[in-house]
């Protein structure tokens, strides 16, 4: 077990350094061709060039927009329907087969409809991202509401909060919050995967830029955007964990 507070950081940095070292050495000693796998030392220059010609900032701005809107739409719908179906067995039963039909359809399969409905527009990408987010958040919220301790719900009843809405607000929602947040956090990562997929068919963003670069075998640029996604995700997740810690400060 790490004994001091710096230990987790040192271990993490050490692991990352080892990873980069292996990655650097493999193409250098000819283990793989550097077209197939660019060296990490090539990346900063590729990154600087992408930033200089303005493509990086534009792609990131657009994708971030798709990402946040998709997260917002899918997350809101997922939380709302998840809670409703978690609270009402009738509602859940009436959704059961709709869910079974729609759930297994991958986000990419929606692309033709997204284009028909929205055109090759930002909203099409948002739609595809939102679908992926929706299912994760829907099931997490439904499970979290279903799992609320009955004894706590009884406390609401005992103190006169008998209506469904009063119960939801006073007991069920706060009790389900940890589970809902776990779903949202999973969706945070899933949504970046969907961003790349959603931008494959022509909506501008870093997914599109990655496709262009790979068709030109500019693998260093592809890696620049892979790392960009990792950095953006890392920042989002860190922020999320911070907010989550605030919201769940009551826990030991």
């Amino acid at each position: 077990m790490p004994r001091n507070r710096a230990a987790p950081f040192i271990l993490g940095a050490g692991g990352l350094a080892a990873f980069l070292a292996v990655w650097q050495v493999a193409p250098s000693v000819g283990l793989v061709s550097s077209t197939l796998l660019p060296k990490p030392s090539d990346i900063p220059a590729a990154f600087a060039a992408e930033v200089r010609n303005g493509l990086w900032l534009e792609a990131v701005g657009l994708s971030l927009g798709h990402y946040l809107l998709g997260l917002l739409c899918g997350g809101t719908a997922g939380v709302a329907l998840g809670i409703a179906s978690g609270m009402s067995v009738r509602f859940e039963l009436s959704l059961a087969w709709i869910v079974r039909v729609l759930r297994p359809i991958p986000g990419l399969a929606w692309v033709p409809f997204a284009i028909l409905w929205f055109g090759v527009e930002q909203s099409a990408a948002v739609f595809i991202i939102a679908i992926g987010v929706f299912w994760i958040v829907f099931f997490a919220s439904q499970g979290a509401i279903r799992g609320v301790d009955r004894e706590l719900i009884e406390v609401a009843d005992a103190f006169g909060f008998t209506g469904a809405f009063a119960k939801l607000r006073k007991v069920m929602l706060p009790a389900a919050l940890p589970g809902i947040l776990v779903g949202l956090r999973t969706a945070l990562g899933q949504a970046w995967m969907s961003v790349v997929a959603a931008e494959l068919f022509g909506v501008a963003g870093l997914g599109q830029r990655m496709t262009q670069a790979s068709s030109l075998l500019a693998t260093d640029i592809v890696v620049v955007y892979m790392l960009t996604i990792a950095a953006l995700y890392g920042a989002m997740d860190t922020l999320f964990v911070f907010v989550q810690g605030r919201l769940l400060a009551y826990r030991p």
């Binding site: 004894e151 706590l152 009884e154 406390v155 009843d157 005992a158 103190f159 006169g160 909060f161 009063a166 006073k170 007991v171 706060p174 009790a175 919050l177 769940l248 009551y250 826990r251 030991p252």
Partner: protein, 257 residues
């Protein structure tokens, strides 16, 4: 009885379980005079909690009449203290105590004042800013008591509230409940399976027994207050109730063979 705050006539209650009807209580009559400290004893599963749930309006009886007559237009007639404190873990202590007030048309400051008063009454005024998990079991149960008192109930229902606590903590809380009962003029229905606790606290002890459960005996505890633990008169009364209940349990075992 005209001055009864609770009167129950011929109450019956059962559950349907896998197609068979499972009767929990039947032919239950009970009058509780206003201001009485009534203890209800009986073995586990006899229906004590169910009876309290009926009085709280949480379970509808299948037959009979349950009347609760508040003397004034009360904000809330009855409040319940559960066996496990059941505090809401995401609320600080003060907010837990104020929980029942949020239905009422009070300002935030008024709610806070009343919650702090109730907390002071159970000796936890300094702990209002803590989270429930930062309290001991006894303190949590005190907060649950404050939460119930905070809505100014005329009828305080307590369901084995101290059974999970160690003896010194339990005895401290017992004395606190007696003090609150005396000061507030509230009627208390105190469910316990600890017969010594029942006779020490109550004006009257009723024993539930049988399956389905009925009132088997009703014994006034005519011992003046303040009482002394281990008073021989209390011991005699406790022995009598224990004898009644063990005869009862023995006859039930015969049945189940």
């Amino acid at each position: 009885m005209s001055d009864a705050i609770v009167s129950i006539r011929d109450l019956a209650l059962g559950f349907d379980q896998g197609g068979t009807r499972h009767e929990v209580l039947r032919h239950l009559d009970l009058d509780v005079p206003r201001g009485e400290f009534l203890a209800i004893v009986g073995s586990s599963g006899v229906g004590k909690s169910t009876l309290l749930r009926v009085l709280m309006g949480l379970s509808p009886p299948s037959a009979g009449r349950v009347e609760i007559r508040p003397s004034r237009k009360a904000e809330r007639t009855a409040a319940l203290v559960f066996q496990d404190a059941r505090l809401l873990p995401w609320r600080r202590v003060t907010a837990n105590v104020a929980f029942g007030l949020e239905r009422l048309n009070l300002s935030g400051a008024e709610r806070r004042d009343r919650a702090l008063q109730a907390l002071a009454r159970v000796g936890l005024r300094e702990h209002g800013g803590r989270w429930p998990h930062q309290l001991s079991g006894g303190q949590r149960q005190r907060v649950a008591l404050a939460r119930a008192l905070c809505v100014k109930p005329e009828l305080l229902l307590m369901d084995e509230p101290f059974s999970a606590l160690d003896a010194p903590t339990r005895e401290g809380l017992q004395d606190e409940v007696v003090r609150i009962w005396r000061d507030q003029g509230v009627t208390v229905l105190f469910v316990t399976h600890d017969i010594d606790e029942a006779v020490y606290l109550a004006d009257r002890v009723i024993a539930l027994g049988g399956k389905p459960g009925e009132v088997r005996s009703s014994l006034p505890i005519d011992v003046e207050r303040p009482r002394r633990r281990g008073d021989p008169r209390l011991q005699v009364l406790a022995e009598k109730i224990k004898r009644d209940l063990s005869a009862e349990a023995a006859s039930r075992e015969d049945w189940s063979i």
